[in-house]
Amino acid sequence: MSMIFGKIVEKRPIVFYVAIVFLLLFLVMGVTLPKGARSLVIQMMIFSILGMGYDLSLGFTNQCSLGHSVFFGAGAYGVIFSIMYLKVGLLPSLSFSFVAGLVFAVITGVISVRLSEAYFVIVTAIFFAVFHLLAMDMTWLTGGDDGLSIQLPALSLGFGKLSLYDPLVNYYFVLAFLVLSYLILDRIVKSPMGKVFISIRESEKRVQFLGYNVFRYKLIAFILSGMFSALSGGLYALTLRYGSADFFSFHWSIMPVVWCLIGGLGTLVGPWIGAVIMSLFQYYVSAWWTYYLILFGIIILLILRISRKGILGYIISRRLT
């Protein structure tokens, strides 16, 4: 079988090894890093999930959505509301964020996925604007800019109870979800459905003439993408123990695009690299220069000038030739 998927078999291990290296690093850093740096890594891991989710949309089915902040915010509020009003535990609250992502992705997807590229971008951007404004205005529900704080319930596992207030527990809790999301998404991408996703990226028209209902597949990819973005939002709200209308802001729409572009589209692990670099940059460079984003913009341009497919895409293409 390895002969048949020759190129793929050759290609996959690099991505796989990069993932393993990252996960091992994350695993070790949890116990070795000081507290401040540890919370930074927690952020990176949460962003990685958002980036992977987004990659399913842009990197695999070529849908450049600017509306993913809607799902991020929906996931965060899914967690907050379910804990505040329904008094559910931690894991059920995350499933609520998953469902919130599903609902919002279905609503926005059914309307927007049919549209061709530029119109899709515009309509998803409009969704971001609408939901951001709604979240800002409906202060009675969302708390507006001030947001809502939550008291975290204990994490009850089979062997006992853990508290997310312990940063170490929080760290490995998030890491577990990163691993889980990666395994699920990797599985999806390598399945028959994933193959159809990739071929849709390559040529939508040809896939249609191979007998596939392109709209349905793009919608499924969009919904899955939205669900994992929502999961990320939920984890972020749990980590901060807080959520506000800011979760719907444009920041959360544009950042995943940036992570995916830096790291490499269509690789799942690429966005991890992007998220890590971006977070490090934000944390350390912003301390000594307010306009650090200008510098970061230049770096993005340089990376894309050297390799249109980002850092991981560059490594893969070097390995192939």
Partner: protein
Amino acid sequence: MASGANFLETLDVTKRFGGLTALDHVTYAVKEGEVRGIIGPNGAGKTTFFNVITGELKPTSGKIFLKGEDITDLSPHLICQKGLSRTFQLTLVFPEMTVYDSIWVGVNLRKRWPWNPVVSAHHILDVSQRTQEICELVGLTEKMNELAYNLSYGHQKVLEIAMALSTEPSVLLLDEPTQGVSPQETDNISKVIEKLSKNMTIILIEHSMDVVLRLCHVITVLSEGRVIAEGRPEEISKNEEVQRIYLGEVS
């Protein structure tokens, strides 16, 4: 060979783009197992005819039947599922997918769960077996692991045919399969088509008269959206009007 009822049939199909009439009351019938050629000067409406049959464009008026079933208003993917597959004049392949994977996607359509999100694609044995068979049939076995954009134009044309084949069609529409291809590769492609014609109905748009005369049982001549002649190859090559409009330009 030709037998039985009409397999694919168009009734009075007209397609207008604004003031331009691309197809003018085209009535056309193909019997099972036939190899049909469509020739005509540039802009005669040949590709538009394919686009209308395959559902990419909806006809302004008229009906299209496949095996007696009205397919006029179906969308392209449903028409493909009913057994009608096509290639494109300008190759439309998946540039960053391997030859194997490109064909794999089409073969997978006929399996029980084409949308299966769980099973690893490597492990579906009947699909990979059929994919290899198709690669062998069209002679792409050696190129199986090449990315499509690394292929020569001739091989991309063959890949187009292989992808069209992968959905197990009963009617195959080939849009200029030998256009822009070296003589040697043209020979190779017509051998492939000849091999396929034993098992399926083929409609071929082609500019190269050699290929058309060699492969087709019946040739239809289109000009300005109208059928101006239809008949066996030897009749067509003698028809005076055809010579004036089409062949005359060449000789």
